[in-house]
Symmetry: C2
Subunit: 350 residues, 2 copies
């Protein structure tokens, strides 16, 4: 418990003065003012978040948290739950989407087993932090105990603390867990008060009948568990997931350590939503990678106050959207650091 | 003339069979089908455009064409026309936005003087193809003679031919020319039949009064020159620009040489619009980098049938949007080439 309280107490709003200083510097670069749009936003926010007027975000790490979900026994996913460990092995051998995209942008992928129902051997690149062999079926009771949820949350916080020690400049979130759009939709419905049907979609690609079943399962789980929207950790424990809790912790930890964090898609945003409900200043540290195809995503982004960077019609997760957004954020920082000013280049101003 | 006719005769629609083959290969990768959205579109289109099932687009080149505009004497821009050659020198010394972003994505920038009102010395990286010292004032007569326009068009075509010989896998367009949103808006209005006010915006950042003047200038230029919308080259000559003509030629040349071409923002799209009006199959070869802040941009993209890849609120030009889009397209190709299949990774299918 103490680590959560301690982490929350370390989160401060970013400096408005640094934001303004960075924008003034951008305004002296050889371009019409504001003409690089969101790249300028990224640059000034990275300055303010890091507290460094010449931030170095070249060291980029994506954490892909894996966990299983008891609710898969309700038939909410197109894929069998065995795919969760199979994909973890795929991540470790470098053949998954996240591996390809992270290599492309020069980011490391760190795979964290926070709750897979499988015993992995020691393997290079796998971080063993298993809290439980998956969650319980939220249709029949709480997905996690409060202790399990807190343990998973701490996994994320501690990884963020370690990033600070290593000098990681930009963190991305990702996840793998067959069935995990179901707890994500449950979290949004619980926190926003929207109907389950409004925030629930097809996940990996289920049909109409399976979607109707998924909605019924979530409605039943919410009615049974009665998560308290005023207590985000209660929502997280009762209808969340172990990887979602770890992402919430990672986001909190990044905010506490002044590290910008890029949240991937639908499931990652559910974790970030819990973090931002716990402390409003967390929002200053979040970049939303992309607009997911999942219909509930935009409600979460609105509540967090984050404008998605990309819209490439992704619905994969893993951190794939985060990887691509991270290279755009890095481009913004390079604009700040590498572009010539009007004076340096001898260019007349308008 | 012959080179234009010859180029048009070489442009063919891309192979539907190759598009389908590439999608089938993507569908066997370890992810839900279609879950990488537009990245999959990029991959299959690059296969079909290049005619190569394992395309190599690592060699990426952005052409930044520079030209001046006689219409600047009507007060249509916030910046003085001296900024055109000043920015060319900035490009050559590596300090401009396009230099920073092209370095970030591993693309070369080639700067082409196709019509700057300034005598450059021989400088590394500058391609001398000056057709005239800027266009004439379109408010007082045709911007170019038909011969000038054709000569600039050929500059672009020949550069594309050279890319083919060099093995360039992906081409981007860019431009620099103070005043060049004015001819771009004139081109859209002439071709689409929309009112000038609907397709004219603030360029580098002019105020309300200057915008009203810019609209009047374009309306006057169209009324005086009477460009024929059924003859895109007539429109290009009478109300276009030398750099816009070179971009139109580059796009035609890329299509003729089976090279995918990423068009940057508002001005580049005006060039691409001329090319796609000359030959409808040109559209198969075009990627629209981003949605510009300029209000007329979306009409052009709709007419070309291109869906912008990014929306970062850019309004700079130079090729800056193209650079960032190129790295996303390259990411799509890597998904096709580097991701493991379900069989390779031992992952169960849904």
């Amino acid at each position: 418990m103490d680590i959560v309280k301690d982490t929350l107490s370390r989160i401060k709003p970013v400096s408005q003065e640094l934001l303004q200083q960075a924008q003034t510097r951008l305004d002296n670069k050889t371009k019409p003012q504001g003409s690089l749009g969101r790249l300028e936003e990224f640059a000034r926010r990275i300055v303010a978040i890091s507290g460094n007027s010449n931030p170095d975000i070249s060291k980029k790490v994506i954490f892909t948290f894996a966990g299983d979900h008891g609710v898969t026994e309700e038939g909410v996913s197109l894929f069998p739950k065995e795919v969760t460990p199979q994909m973890v092995l795929n991540f470790l051998s470098g053949g998954a989407g996240i591996n390809v995209l992270a290599r492309h942008v020069g980011a490391d992928v760190r795979v964290v087993d926070v709750g897979v129902d499988y015993d992995f051997e020691d393997m290079v690149g796998l971080i063993h932090k298993k809290v439980a062999r998956g969650t319980k079926n939220l249709a029949k009771g709480p997905a996690m105990t409060r202790d399990e949820m807190l343990t998973a949350l701490k996994v994320g916080i501690e990884l963020a603390d370690q990033c600070r020690a290593e000098g990681v400049g930009l963190v991305g979130t990702g996840e793998m867990g067959i069935g995990n759009t179901t707890p994500s939709s449950a979290i949004i419905a619980a926190i926003s008060g929207k109907s389950v049907a409004e925030v629930t979609h097809r996940g990996t690609g289920i049909g109409d009948e399976a979607l109707a079943n998924k909605i019924r399962v979530i409605e039943g789980g919410l009615a049974l568990n009665k998560p308290d929207p005023a207590d985000p950790l209660d929502v997280l424990a009762k209808v969340g997931g172990l990887e979602i809790a770890a992402i919430a912790g990672l986001v909190l930890g990044c905010a506490a350590n002044s590290i910008p964090v890029v949240i991937d898609g639908f499931i990652s945003t559910a974790g970030a939503l819990i973090a931002s409900e716990l402390h409003p200043d967390v929002r200053d540290y979040i970049f939303a990678a992309h607009q997911s195809v999942e219909i509930g995503h935009r409600f979460m982004l609105e509540r967090i106050g984050a404008d998605p960077i990309l819209d490439l019609e992704f619905r994969l997760g893993e951190g794939t959207g985060a990887a691509l957004a991270m290279t755009l954020i890095e481009a913004g920082v390079k604009i700040l650091k590498e572009m010539a000013t009007f004076e340096q280049a001898g260019v007349s101003q308008g």
